[in-house]
């Protein structure tokens, strides 16, 4: 059984409702009029109301209600269901319990029903499964939950205070991404990427003469016999690399339909950042996360799998912010170490982001741009002038992409993770290619 995170209970006695007031008012008015005028037929009109009043008061005497709300998990991944239950215990025979569940933006109700009216028998315990599903990453709220309980012919209600709001952390979902592409530059001591440094490793680099200190198992006896001197197999070392993930949160374009629905540009960026971070931390690389939205945020250098939780929690605060430090491309470029590979997750709508990518490429930094603009973000039903404006905008966008590609920066859409793998391979090949040097 999962641990109970949050629970709150309340017990109360029934209080009169407007129905009781109506029963008594109608009874008194008709009875006074009937008795005053000596009209049995008018008293007969009041009879059902008076009987109902008597029965309601008699029934409500023993009724007591306890309501308890439990939410078992505080941290869930997108797409998973929450164990949220509302338990109602009663000693009386209740007529109806109306539960009204309010959920935050990132949460959804499984069957889409926010309100439900249920009946509870005397002495039984009813457990209402709230049926909440975490639909979108972020900090989301469950509640307040309104519980309205009526009894004794709807003449009495149990005043249950609103259940308090519980905050939940919904972590972004991580897609399956396994890439064996080596990053262009390896910077730290140990890892899984082939570096240009020669030493202990697996990848063959060449044959060279034996020098003092070489291990005997590296001696290539066949070549040594042919050449007459000791020759050893030389190899490239395997080292870890460093990845800087730039998240462009200045715009959130497109509809956000949760984990199974359509993804906005910010949804795609956050999920892609989580996926890429998980992959590289698993491979032993170091990852830096930089949020270049309206404000500038960055996270310390992450190494190791345990830091993935830190990265996910940091990603949850990625949102459209109206206030914050204004950033300039040079300031952000300074945050990226010189030999780190930069993954820019951007819908390519902000000119500053394009400038930043160009500035990084000028420095010789390997950059991959992941285009997070969703396909449905571009309007379709347009009049003549809007269609013309859209064509001009598309042409400008294609030109921007072409310039980025020309500068050696692959631009891939975040549709499947395979495209990113292909782009990383292209970067690795480009880094090994001979280049002109200025003398």
């Amino acid at each position: 059984m999962s641990p109970r995170l949050a629970a709150s209970s309340y017990g109360s006695r029934p209080a009169p409702t407007a129905v009781l007031v109506r029963l008594s008012t109608v009874s008194v008015v008709l009875l006074v009029a009937g008795l005053g005028l000596g009209r049995p037929d008018v008293v007969a009109l009041a009879a059902p109301f008076t009987v109902a009043l008597f029965l309601a008061v008699r029934r409500a005497r023993g009724a007591r209600v306890e309501a308890e709300l439990e939410i078992s998990r505080a941290e869930v991944v997108e797409g998973t269901a929450l164990d949220g239950t509302l338990t109602i215990r009663t000693t009386g025979d209740l007529d109806a319990v109306v539960v009204d569940v309010q959920v935050g933006i990132g949460l959804a109700l499984r069957d889409g029903v926010r309100r439900r009216a249920i009946a509870v028998r005397g002495g039984e315990e009813v457990v209402v499964n709230l049926g909440i599903v975490a639909a979108r990453w972020g900090h989301s709220a469950v509640g307040p939950i309104h519980v309205n309980i009526v009894t004794a012919g709807l003449a009495f209600a149990v005043a249950v205070p609103d259940r308090p709001t519980h905050w939940l952390t919904v972590l972004p979902s991580v897609e399956r991404f396994r890439s064996d592409a080596s990053l262009p530059y390896a910077v730290t001591a140990a890892g899984s990427h082939r570096s240009l440094v020669r030493g202990d490793g697996v990848d063959f680099a060449g044959i060279r003469p034996f020098v003092f200190g070489d291990r005997l198992r590296r001696v290539n006896w066949r070549v040594s016999q042919r050449t007459g001197s000791l020759q050893v197999v030389d190899s490239f070392t395997e080292r870890a690399s460093e990845v800087v993930v730039l998240i462009d949160s200045a715009q959130d374009v497109g509809a956000s339909g949760g984990v199974g629905g359509t993804a906005s540009s910010l949804d795609a960026a956050v999920r892609a950042a989580a996926t890429v971070t998980a992959h590289h931390l698993r491979r032993g690389d170091a990852v830096r996360l930089v949020d270049v939205g309206t404000r500038l945020r960055f996270l310390r250098r992450l190494t190791g799998r345990r830091d993935f939780v830190v990265a996910c929690n940091w990603l949850l605060d990625t949102r459209l912010a109206e206030v914050g430090e204004a950033w300039v491309p040079d300031r952000v470029a300074a945050l990226a170490p010189p030999r780190a590979t930069v993954l820019a997750l951007t819908p390519l709508l902000d000119e500053r982001m394009t400038t930043l990518v160009a500035r990084l490429r000028q420095r010789g930094q390997p950059v991959v741009v992941v285009d997070t603009l969703p396909p449905d973000a571009v309007p379709r039903q347009l009049d003549v002038y809007e269609a013309l404006a859209r064509r001009m905008w598309m042409m400008e966008r294609e030109r921007t992409v072409a310039l980025l590609v020309e500068s050696g920066c692959p631009v891939v859409p975040w549709t499947t993770t395979g495209a990113l793998d292909r782009a990383l391979r292209e970067l690795g090949v480009a880094a090994l290619a001979p280049r002109a040097a200025a003398r």
Binding site: G11, S12, R13, P16, V19, L20, V21, R22, L23, S24, T25, V26, S27, V28, V29, L30, L31, V32, A33, G34, L35, L37, G38, R39, P40, D41, V42, V43, A44, L45, A46, A47, P48, F49, T50, V51, A52, L53, F54, L55, V57, A60, D95, A96, V98, D100, D111, V113, R114, R115, R116, A117, I118, A119, G153, L154, A155, A159, R380, Q381
Partner: protein, 207 residues
């Protein structure tokens, strides 16, 4: 994807689709039943007078209140309608009696029918008030509501029938006795329930 006719038409169409769902159809059915009961009660009340202008006036006034009750269940409209029906019933029967039309006194079944209709108007108003729109409704709530209505209506109509029939047989003694006890209950029970009890907290088991 929005159609070429514009988002306003799409919104109206979506709203109509939502209203035509089964849940809304049920609530609409309840409202129609509520209105039918109010029409029946108004018809029984207005039938007590032979003069057409007064009948039209009564139907118009009760109809306006009924429309308000349908639009806003749980408001004071139901109380106004029920008391209004009782008032007009009293006035119209008294008017007919005063002009010597004693043969037009209501039949006992008419009185009991009016009593049943008024009580059902009250009970349906309470039900419509607690059932929120776009809610999932457990059928047990409805069966329990029906049982509660029957528990009050059957003995109430039995007592009412006796009251209408017996005065001529017992010389009015039963009428006064039952009426006095009912008045005592109608005044005493709410006073007992609503009296201030500052010493009893919400969780006091002895209260």
């Amino acid at each position: 994807m929005s159609s070429t006719r514009g988002p306003v038409l799409d919104g109206i169409r979506a709203r109509l689709r939502a209203y035509s769902s089964r849940r809304y159809a049920f609530l609409l059915g309840l409202a129609v039943l509520h209105l039918s009961l109010m029409v029946a009660a108004g018809w029984l009340v207005a039938g007590q007078i032979g003069a057409n202008p007064i009948r039209v006036l009564v139907i118009g006034l009760l109809g306006a209140v009924a429309a308000f009750v349908i639009a806003s269940p749980g408001s004071a409209g139901a109380l106004v309608f029920i008391v209004g029906c009782g008032f007009f019933y009293l006035m119209l029967t008294a008017l007919e009696t005063s002009i010597g039309a004693d043969d037009r006194m209501p039949h006992p079944f008419q009185v009991l029918g009016l009593a049943a209709a008024l009580y059902l108007v009250h009970a349906l108003d309470g039900l419509r008030e607690i059932l929120p729109p776009n809610a999932s409704i457990d059928p047990t709530v409805l069966t329990r509501w029906l049982r509660r209505v029957a528990e009050a209506l059957v003995p109430g109509l039995g007592i009412g029938g006796l009251l209408v029939v017996l005065p001529t047989a017992s010389g009015g003694g039963t009428f006064w006795l039952v009426g006095a006890v009912a008045l005592l209950l109608a005044v005493g029970l709410p006073v007992l329930v609503l009296r201030p009890r500052p010493w009893a907290g919400p969780d006091d088991p002895t209260s």
